[in-house]
Amino acid sequence: MDDVTDSKLTFHEMGKKRFSSRKVQKNVVIILFLFAPLLLLIVFTYMPFTDMVRYSFFKWNGTSKTMKCIGVKNYIEVFTRPEYFGVLKTSLYYLVGSFVQIGLALYFATILNFKVRFSNFFKGAIFFPYLINGVAIGFVFLYFFKSGGTLNSILTAFGVAEEKIPLWLNNRSLINVSLAFVSVWRYMGQNMVMFSGAMASVNSDLYEASELDGANRWQQFRYIILPNIKLVVSLNMILAVKGAISVFEIPYIMTNGGNGSATFVTKTLETAFTMKKVGLASAMGVVLLIFILIITLIQKKFFEGKEA
């Protein structure tokens, strides 16, 4: 069929048509491919988000058909009442935890970067927790920390007297440490893989040269590896701050924010769905978003021009 129509056109016209139809095609493809993700993005991200911002200026219980506009009162409440803003303190435990996590991840990545037997097996084993579903991890560690649970059995097997073992989740000064430990266990593997990846790009000639110069492993790490992966390390640190502010899964599943383990996100959830203060909770959500935005901006500033 094409042949019939084409035969009536000059060569020049043919080229023109082909060009324009290709351009149209391109646009059609672009639009069609973008349509689905954009639709999903708008329906499931931007629309709920604008709703959330709107709710944050209202007093609303989540189901009522009437909403009362109260201006910025919700925001004032978030910042002035210690039970809302104060829970950010819990994040400090996770922040410290994530620096420990980065340290450990660096350590393991470095060791496995040198020639070690079964290094791939160890990499897999350390990365494995990251693949487990967060809910499962919550339950596993609930049994782990329980009185008479796994951890205590191990400790008693090593001769620690049962009475001397604290209740890991009942003790206020320990509960957040215990939970932060779970977080470290879970995410360390991910950090390690990122560091390993960065280390793999270090030119191996450098190691050889430094070995000839008599550098030991620590010196190799300090003067070759670390300068080369500095960017990845600082990126992980900034991500750690973000993660620490928005901790959710582990305290929510394991203790439901009880006994002083509430984080900003579990508190937001409680405010919205237990206390039925959806307006206030939306304001908390917006505040959290602003924090994350600020950190992201710092990150951008920090890495500007350092890429490539």
Partner: protein, 454 residues
């Protein structure tokens, strides 16, 4: 070129498929609802014989995930045998309150559902179909239980069964501990728990702190059981000054909880309690007792081989020797106001409440006037049941609103956990600190809502 064309066509095809998928669904939905409308109008005509009265699907939301394949399957069979053109579809929801409250933002929340506790009474008419006035329905049902879900004299939810509030306990353990009489005051109760601790290996009281909702059972005692006043919950406390001062019902109830925990009469590690496990432990005699509604009896009996050891006693309190117990409706059946199967939905509710015998088989109180007390509550023969009176017209919806606004949040576990945490010595608060804080918050809430305070 050819490859590009293919990709264009492919994308186009996929997009069309996406849309046509939507359209087809919509079309079917429309036809279906038309069918349903016809069915409904048929039934209102009431000319046809009973068998062909209804047809179509009826979606029933339920919180009883445990009964869906057993008891409910039998009810479904029986009901479908009566109306052969009808198919009952159950949707059992584990986190019933949370999930349904969210679904109620749409129109799709089943035909028949259990009214979520979080919907305030002044919003019933927006979501549910009225089932009749209290006067009408009280010919057949015990009037006090009809008050559970009413708004302006209309009943919006018919209780599936009713429960008394008390203490579920292991009779064998109490006997082994040397407790001969059921305690009738908080002091006697604490002494009894101490005896269990001293004389047996059982945990005297199990808080079930981790599950959270289990702690809310305490709240029910602060209404009828301790006050003996059916109006206290919905009409009195909202206007009361300092309702948590020493000597009030809440103070009495939560002081008992605080004392149990602070005296070490509960489990060692409340933060890691396990609700499912607690049922087995009570059944085996590893736990002495738990504060839970009478709905729990059948579950405790069923959790092991020692079902006969499970007993149920009233909350340890009395007013001049008379014991009271808060009683109240369990989850209530309601009809979605957007349902296309309202008549059929009503038939299912009537079947469940009037004919299935569900309430008594669960060991709960049946709301039918002619039904006796269940066997499980025989220790309550001397006890007066107090069922909350509904709020008067000017108080309607105020209790929930005040409770939430003030953040004392009496219906939830948040502040109860705080009491347990303080009693364990994990915070620096004393019991009186918490009660004073509640009083303050309550007063602020009352002021915010502009309530009269006496």
């Amino acid at each position: 070129m050819g490859r590009k064309l293919v990709s264009v066509l492919l994308t186009a095809a996929m997009t069309t498929a996406l849309f046509s998928g939507c359209t087809t669904d919509k079309e079917t939905a429309v036809t279906k609802s038309e069918d349903e409308q016809t069915a409904t109008s048929d039934s209102s005509g009431e000319v046809k014989s009973k068998t062909s009265e209804f047809s179509g699907d009826l979606t029933v939301l339920t919180h009883r995930t445990d009964l869906i394949d057993t008891k409910f399957a039998d009810y479904k069979k029986e009901f479908e045998a009566r109306y052969p053109d009808v198919t009952i579809k159950f949707e059992a929801i584990t986190d019933y309150e949370g999930d349904v409250a969210i679904r109620m933002g749409t129109k799709d929340y089943g035909d028949v559902l259990m009214l979520p506790g979080s919907v305030p009474s002044n919003e019933f008419a927006d979501y549910f179909e009225p089932l009749g006035s209290v006067e009408e329905l009280s010919n057949k049902y015990k009037e006090e239980f009809l008050n559970a879900k009413i708004s302006q004299g209309q009943v919006y939810g018919l209780p599936s069964c009713a429960n008394a509030q008390g203490v579920v306990y292991n009779k064998r353990i109490f006997k082994e501990a040397g407790i001969t009489q059921t305690p009738k005051t908080p002091e006697e109760f604490l002494n009894a728990l101490q005896k269990i601790k001293d004389n047996t290996d059982a945990i005297p009281y199990y808080t079930n702190y981790a599950a959270g909702w289990t702690l809310t059972a305490w709240e029910d005692h602060a209404w009828g059981s301790v006050t003996g006043d059916a109006n206290y919950h919905n009409n009195v406390i909202i206007h009361e000054k300092d309702p948590f001062r020493e000597g009030t019902s809440h103070y009495t109830v939560y002081k008992l909880l605080y004392d149990i925990v602070s005296k070490g009469l509960c489990e060692k590690d409340p933060v890691t309690t396990d609700w499912e496990q607690s049922k087995v432990m009570l059944n085996n005699g590893e736990i002495g007792c738990m504060m839970l509604g009478s709905w729990s009896i059948s579950q405790m009996k069923g959790a092991g081989s020692n079902g006969d050891d499970i007993g149920y006693m009233p909350f340890p309190t009395n007013i001049n020797g008379v014991q009271y117990a808060t009683a109240g409706a369990d989850y209530c059946f309601g009809i979605n106001v957007n349902s296309q199967q309202k008549a059929l939905a009503r038939a299912w509710i009537d079947f469940m409440v009037d004919e299935s015998g569900f309430a008594l088989s669960e060991g709960s109180i049946s709301i039918l006037k002619n039904d006796p007390l269940p066997e499980t509550l025989k220790d309550f023969s001397e006890v007066t049941f107090i069922v909350d009176e509904p709020a008067t017209a000017q108080n309607e919806g105020l209790f929930d609103e005040l409770s939430n606004t003030s953040e004392v949040s009496l219906n939830t576990d948040v502040e109860k956990k705080r009491i347990v945490e303080a009693a364990m010595g994990n915070t620096n608060e004393s019991f009186d600190d918490i009660m004073n804080d509640w009083n303050e918050k309550w007063a602020t809430g009352q002021k915010e809502l502009g309530l009269e305070v006496e």
